[in-house]
Structures are given as C-alpha cells and as structure tokens.
Amino acid sequence: MLTIPTTRTDYRIAWLAALAISIHIMESALPSPLPGIKPGLANVVTIVVLCRFGWATAAWVSGLRVLAGSLLLGTFLSPAFALSLSGAFCALLVLAPAAWLARIAPHWAPGPIGLSVLAAWAHMAGQFWVAYALFIPHEGLFHLLPILLTVSLVFGVVSGAVADVVIKHLEAASV
C-alpha cells in the first residue's frame, strides 16, 4: 500500500483549514443585508496563520478553505466560487509583500489590523474585477464600489482586531 508521508506542517495546515472552513460555512448561514456583503470572519484565521506560521501556510489554509468550502456549500465552479477564489487569490497576492516587509522591517510593517484591511480590500477588488469582467460588464456596477470598499474596510478592521486578540492569547499560551 502506498502511504504518503505526512509532516507536522501538513497536520497543522489541515487543522487550521478545518477551522477556517467551519467558520466559512457558519458564516454562510448568516443572513446578509446585501448580497455579496459578509463579514469574512474566516479571514481571521488567515491573518492569525500568516502572523504565526508565515505566508505559505496561510496560502494553503486560505486555498483549502475556498475549495472545501465551495464543495460543502455546493457552489464549486459556480460564479460564487469564482468570486471567492479570485478574492482569496488577490488577498494572498497583496499579503505576500506585506509579510516580506514584516520580516525585513518589523517596525514599519502593518500588524494584524493593517494586514486584515489590506487583505479585505484586495479581496473586494479582486472579486469586483471578476464580477465586472465575467458576470456583469455594466458600468453601473462601479457605483457600488465605494460602498463595498467602505464595508470591507470596517469588516477588515474588525477581523484584524479579533486576529490581534487571538495572536496575543496564542503568544501568552505558548510562552
């Protein structure tokens, strides 16, 4: 029998992804005042993982959440999946230089709140671009952009603050 050797990191990714997927699915059950607007609480996990274990682990956790989340919600390969994937992809793209900055200049790099806001905006921008390019190529869509970005700024700050608290507790627990 073929067995794939697993590492500690694999287990860590699996556990964290499971956590992110659970939050993702619980959140999808919450009613939303406007379609497309949701708090993105699963991103708390991404930010915490980014700060504790680095960008690569965060990318795995985020990617697995989008994939498994869509399979469980039944949106795999649907427009919702395309939006989710493009959002996560852009967020990770923006987080990469931010994480690199945190390594070379820790005093100048954004902390959890800044990272979360960056990710939220990149997520929204990526989603918006895909929504415009693929689904609704109507210029009226742009009138929604300022409102969507305002909402994602608020949720980004909230998620970042939550991530900050979680990270502080994790640091206190591991010392």
Binding site: P110, I113, L118, H138, E139, F142, H143, L149, T150
Partner: protein, 122 residues
Amino acid sequence: MTRGDYAVLALCALTLPALFMRYGLPGSTGTQARITTGNAIYAQVPLSRAHIYRVPGALGISEIEVRDGRIRFNSSPCQGQQCVHSGWAKRGGEFIACVPNRVSISVLGQGAGGDYYDSINF
C-alpha cells in the same frame, strides 16, 4: 497598532473619498429626462430648468412639467390618467408612460449606468 497599520488606514481614508467622488452613490438623482413619442425621441430635457413642455401624442397634447429637478405628467388627454397619477420622477432609471397617448418619460442617470433600477418589468 503599528506604523504600518496607520499607513494602511491612511491609504484607505484617502482612497475612499476619491472613489465616492468619482462614482457617487448608486441611483444618483437624474439630471436629464428623455421624452419619447411613439418610437421616436421627442426631446431630451434638463431637470435643472423649470418648464412646462407641451408634447403632441396620438390623442392630443400631454403637458409635462419640470420643476425642482423633478418631472411629471401635468395633464394628459388620455382616459385613465395613470401617467398623471404616477406623480413625480427624479431618480435615474425612473420611467413614466402614458400608453394611450404614446408619450413616455425616462429619467437619465448621471453618467453611464447611473440608474436606480437594474430592470423594470410590467
């Protein structure tokens, strides 16, 4: 909060007003209205200038009033008077029609796609 956090928030605080100024709010107030008779555009009128337009339709003259950035059918030769009862329209995408007289008004949103409604079904 680190310096980087403040930098990110400052960037957002600068970007958002610019975006609001560029794109405004959805369903912005219309600045112009198009009056159609039959299948042809009769006139495109500004909502900024108060005026009463007398538009000839299939039955007779429809009187269309513009005042305070709004537009309405003031009087109509039709029987049902639904166009008059529709009242004022001011938002981009709003639409009033007098079907018997074949006169209709549609408020044009600011810029392309600045309409209040995505689509309307009757």
